[in-house]
Amino acid sequence: MTEISKTDSEWEPKIIGFLCNWCSYTGADLAGTSRLQYPPNIRIIKVMCSGRVNPQFILKAFQEGADGVLVSGCHPGDCHYIEGNYHAKRKLTLTTDLMEFMGVDPKRFQVSWVSASEGKKFAEVVIKFTAQIKELGPQNKLTGGDV
């Protein structure tokens, strides 16, 4: 496998998606079974709840070379564990703030609420987010590439 250089015109962003098992992952499944098209840049990691996503998962993903990170969970009030996504909201919005404060573009990190029946919304979120990351270009601050 040849590494594509990040300045290459063929550059495609790498996006890591943490999806909750009960809503968003099923939503992504629905997008697939409904044959909805969305960019293949997203690599999905299933977690049991968006509340499981520790801020260090996100920072680690960036460190390992992700250009964008998406966390998706159930809509507020719909959490399988009653309140997991409320905890996620607190933690993750603060993580966005911290990224901004450290000088990393917070647009690279996105939280979204996608329910199991919203296959269409999931595809839209991925399309919109991929376009946003493409515009921002490669992320090289947290990977240590910018020295």
Binding site: P55, Q56, L59, K60, Q63, P76, E83, Y86, H87, K89, R90, K91, T93, L94, T95, T96, D97, L98, M99, E100, F101, M102, G103, V104, D105, P106, Q110, V111, S112, W113, V125, K128, F129, K141, L142, T143, G144, D146, V147
Partner: protein, 337 residues
């Protein structure tokens, strides 16, 4: 005016009383050695040693760290759980840490006996070092302070004294201190009439006004100096995990040991996140950093944001809910798609 000698005497007599009655197993306080510029922690186990205790504006370190260490000790299998109490001397900022520790169930209220000392400001060791250049070398250790009532310190050393305005020595954290009285205490020593001044986060605002790249360059400069001695973690009383994520090697390491910008940034961001909404701005991380990294600014930014976003303000009331142990349905989240 702060009468440090009087405070010291009161601390000593209270410690003595608790130790003699057996109410506490030991007292954590400050002592001043012959050679040290500032006071250092001391553990008094015996009532006859209470004379070691010292009080002055150079009592800087946050002693609650040792309180957590003691509370973490577990009895051997089959033995009764520990119930002994510990006495501790705290400044207003340190007392906020105790509130936070009680909130998080790390310290049971009945196992800590608090001597709260009202203070108006503590000093910054670097500024002190610069201010006492005129004192002949060899006499700078073991200096004593007197408050002259006109916002000056009279610094007494062997063979002379020196008058220095308090403002010149004041630690940065004291300039934005919101309470000059311990928020939790069993015994209060001294009192302060300093008005309550709300913290405006001017230092954080200055950074927030920069552009993204300016901020990144600012942090890049600072974080590339980090030697990862982990003193900022080890000194923090709220970093009490049994095993820190940065020490963990099984099943894998979260962070490489390599000391380079990439790993340093990860360390500092994760460390700050772990303290978001909990940090009480005692300023210890900033003080201990051997490379002069302004760690406090990251913490203060998160204090500010936790306050704005989640209405959480740490270290004020033991009845408050901890930041990450609770939530509010109305927490803002406009940026969520």
């Amino acid at each position: 005016m702060m009468d440090f000698q009087d405070f010291e005497a009161k601390i000593k007599s209270q410690a003595k009383q608790w130790l003699e009655s057996g109410e506490v197993k030991f007292v954590i306080g400050y002592e001043k050695s012959h050679d040290s510029l500032i006071a250092r922690p001391v553990f008094i186990h015996d009532a006859k040693d209470v004379d070691k205790l010292y009080w002055g504006p150079d009592c800087i370190s946050n002693l609650t760290l040792y309180l957590v260490d003691e509370m973490k000790k577990k009895p051997k299998r089959g033995e009764e759980p520990f119930t002994h109490a510990v006495g501790i001397v705290v400044k207003p900022c340190d007392s906020k840490t105790i509130v936070e520790l009680i909130k998080e169930n790390m310290v049971p209220r009945e196992r800590v006996k608090i001597i709260g000392v009202a203070t108006e400001n503590s000093i910054n060791p670097d500024k002190l070092e610069a201010a006492i250049k005129d004192i002949p070398p060899g006499k700078r250790g073991g200096i004593r302070f007197i408050d002259d009532g006109n916002k000056n310190y009279i610094i007494k050393y062997d063979g002379g004294e020196l008058k220095v305005p308090q403002e010149e020595l004041e630690a940065d954290k004291c300039k934005v201190c919101i309470t000059h009285k311990p928020v939790i205490h069993d015994i209060l020593v001294g009192e302060s009439n300093e008005p309550f001044v709300p913290d405006e986060f001017e230092d954080v605002k200055k950074l927030e006004e920069m552009t993204e790249d300016q901020r990144w360059n600012y942090w890049k400069e600072h974080l590339s100096k980090c030697v990862r001695c982990y003193a900022c973690r080890d000194v923090c009383p709220l970093c009490y995990c049994e095993e820190c994520v940065f020490d963990k090697e099984k099943p894998f390491s979260w962070n490489e040991k390599s000391v380079q910008l990439r790993e340093n940034t990860f360390y500092h961001m994760v460390r700050a996140m772990h303290l978001a909404g909990r940090c009480v701005d005692c300023g210890e991380c900033d003080r201990v950093c051997p490379m002069g990294i302004p760690i406090r600014e990251i913490n203060r930014f998160l204090i500010k944001r936790a306050k704005e976003r989640c209405k959480v303000f740490s270290g004020i009331n033991v009845e408050d809910k901890p930041m990450f142990g609770s939530y509010d349905i109305d927490d803002p989240g406009e940026e969520i798609w």
